[in-house]
């Protein structure tokens, strides 16, 4: 009787110990990001490889579309249960970092002397603060010119060259704007761009004309300067006088991306558009951005990883970030084809350069770093961007002359900057 009891007891003890080890193996961390289900799958693969090397940790990957993603993170954060690791967009980073909800990664980085060695320095800039890094870049986007070869061939216009200026670009766009079916309305435009956010188009144009966007230290919106105004007039004339770009209303008839819809001969975008454009029925290629009076400038922006300060497993979360930021994670992520790896050894290897799904010049996006300015990164970015975008839109709909619209954008933008100063 006693014996059996002893057996039972040891069985229970063993069971408890097993349970204990099982519980330890079940340290689960979450990684949330915005993006498509396919992106979720790729990160799931990265997580699986991480788990194979770290049997004690499980990683739960959750992906949401952009809008729901930010709502969800805010609500989870307010409820005190944020994901351990989540994706960040550099312009929004100061809003989160300055509110003290992100973990300072500096002590962890200090313990890994070579971790930043292989990284393109410009991609680190946005995440650097006076107190260290509270996030690390995941991948980067530079803006390049996309062109529809079939439309250029049909119109007998020479492809964009490395020496193109904005004047050459404007002339070509005008020659490519046509009424192809002869019904009296234009149905092919030379160019299309997303014009509310500075990143894809107006930022690079303002910079190439010698202007600047914001002076964060003094809370000033600079897009009304004399040089910036030349850029605005260039955009305005090409759009509203040459009519080489579809209006918002015209674009609406075909979709949301004019280049993808096959109604615009040229477009500007980052690498994120490549998977969208790859299945297109027309032949297309990429070229560097045109040169302006102040030279060639494009913009660079980085998505990144951050760890919530409230995470219960900061060590495991850091291990995952380190892995995903490292060569294996970056090589896997390069396969998504949506962005460029921030690690030189990966970006300059076949993993990124030779993507079978889209045989274009992928190196162009890396070369663009040499003449790229960082997309503005400051506290209140999203509010500022909406305030400026709303006002500028008045020019593009024809409700206001461009000078008035820019003046209103500066005023609205300065209001937003003032409201977000600490």
């Amino acid at each position: 009787m006693l014996r059996t009891n002893g057996l039972v007891l040891s069985a229970i003890a063993a069971g408890l110990m097993l349970g204990a080890t099982a519980a330890r193996a079940e340290t689960e961390i979450t990684y949330q990001l915005w993006g498509s289900p396919q992106e979720g799958e790729v990160w799931q693969k990265v997580a699986k490889e991480f788990e194979a090397q770290h049997p004690d940790t499980k990683v739960k990957v959750e992906v949401n579309d952009w809008d729901s993603y930010w709502e969800k993170i805010r609500v989870l954060m307010a409820g005190g249960t944020p994901p351990d690791v989540f994706a960040m967009d550099a312009p929004l980073y100061p809003d989160w970092q300055s509110r003290g909800v992100l973990l300072n990664l500096q002590p962890y980085i200090d313990a890994e002397p070579v971790i930043l060695d292989d990284i393109y320095p410009i991609t680190l800039e946005a995440y650097k603060t006076k107190d260290g890094y509270f996030g690390l870049p995941r991948d980067f986007q530079t803006i390049v010119l996309y062109y529809n070869k079939d439309m250029f061939d049909a119109a007998g216009v020479a492809y964009p060259s490395d020496n193109w200026t904005y004047d050459d670009f404007r002339k070509a766009a005008k020659a490519l704007t046509k009424d192809t079916n002869g019904d009296g309305t234009i149905d092919q435009w030379g160019f299309w761009a997303e014009v509310l956010d500075p990143e894809p188009y107006w930022g690079p144009v303002v910079w190439s004309f010698g202007g600047d966007i914001v002076d964060i230290a003094n809370g000033k919106t600079l897009i009304g300067s004399e040089k910036a105004m030349q850029a605005w007039h260039f955009i305005n004339d090409m759009w509203l006088e040459d009519k080489s770009m579809p209006t918002t209303e015209q674009l609406q008839q075909y979709g949301t991306d004019g280049f993808q819809a096959g109604i615009a001969a040229m477009g500007v975008s980052g690498h994120w558009s490549v998977p969208d454009y790859a299945p297109a029925k027309f032949k297309w290629a990429v070229a560097p951005m045109p040169k302006g009076p102040a030279g060639r400038v494009t913009s660079v922006n980085c998505a990144g990883f951050v760890i919530a300060k409230a995470s219960k497993h900061p060590k495991e979360a850091w291990e995952f970030v380190k892995f995903a930021f490292g060569p294996v994670g970056q090589a896997e992520a390069a396969k998504i084809g949506l962005a460029v790896p921030i690690r030189k050894s990966v970006a300059e290897s076949p993993a990124y350069l030779q993507q079978t799904s889209a045989p274009i010049d992928h190196k162009l996006y890396i070369d663009a770093l040499q003449y790229a300015h960082t997309k503005p990164v400051f506290r209140g970015y999203e509010e500022w961007s909406a305030a400026v975008g709303d006002a500028l839109n008045n020019a593009w709909t024809g409700a206001m002359p461009v000078d008035d619209a820019v003046a209103e954008a500066v005023q609205n933008g300065d209001d937003a900057l003032a409201k977000n100063r600490q």
Binding site: A78, Q253, E383
Partner: protein
Amino acid sequence: MNFGLRPLGREKLWVLLLLGPTLLGLAVGAFGSIFATLGLSFFKWDLLTTPEWVGFANYAGLADDRMFLRSLSNTIIFSLLYVPLTIVCAMAVALLLNRRIHGVSLFRTLYFLPVISSPTAVGLLWTWIFAQDQGVLNAMLGNLGIPPVRWLGPNMALYSVVVVNVWGAIGEGMIVFLAGLQAIPREQYEAAHLDGANALQRLIYVTLPAMAPSLFFQSVLSTIHAFQAFDYIYILTRVGNGNSSVPTLVFSIYRNGFRFFRMGDATAQAIVLTAIIFLFTLVYFRIQKRWEVPA
């Protein structure tokens, strides 16, 4: 309003018991969030850090918040057009369909269809109708020799979205008015007929007074819908980047709370919205009382 049935004795217990779950949900869910909204409107809160008491600063700030003022004026103009148009159109449709004609249930279904259709899909369809170059509307105008109109351009967009919203709301108003019309006793019409009242007089002296409660109910409902209008407007006027060329009050609340880290400002705007709807409802109550007394 008078209810036909009144619970008696033990029935009252059952009524309370059966209504309990709903009432509890209302008390905690609806009233809870209303009070939370009111409370938060006196705080500066970004959802991430501890709320900070600011008194009436959020309300004071609204007066020179250009983006808020623009959305407020859009919403007010929209409502001033939407409510009367919806009432008139829905009433006209209800009067036309309140008779024995062939296929009356088909017509009723057709008019009600927009109410149960997905606003996103219907919004996209209207985008095609309003389209500048290949739009249905401009093609029709073109046949009459009229140059194309930019229906969703800066001058017309607000009116175009009013049309779509009224169109979408006719069905709901029609149901309410049909119910009201069918409750009017036939004898009243017969009496009026004997007294020599013509169709117009019957409408003014018999139908409309009898319809006062339905009209009142539908006006309150339409006003609430008008101030909360969002989906059709957003789909028809979005300009990429999550912005809209006709921002409404609800859009502004969403943007401030969930985009700009300004939950305090967003809740203050929500309280302003509630106050406006409340004011309108009070006005309707007054009008209804006046209307009902002589009858």
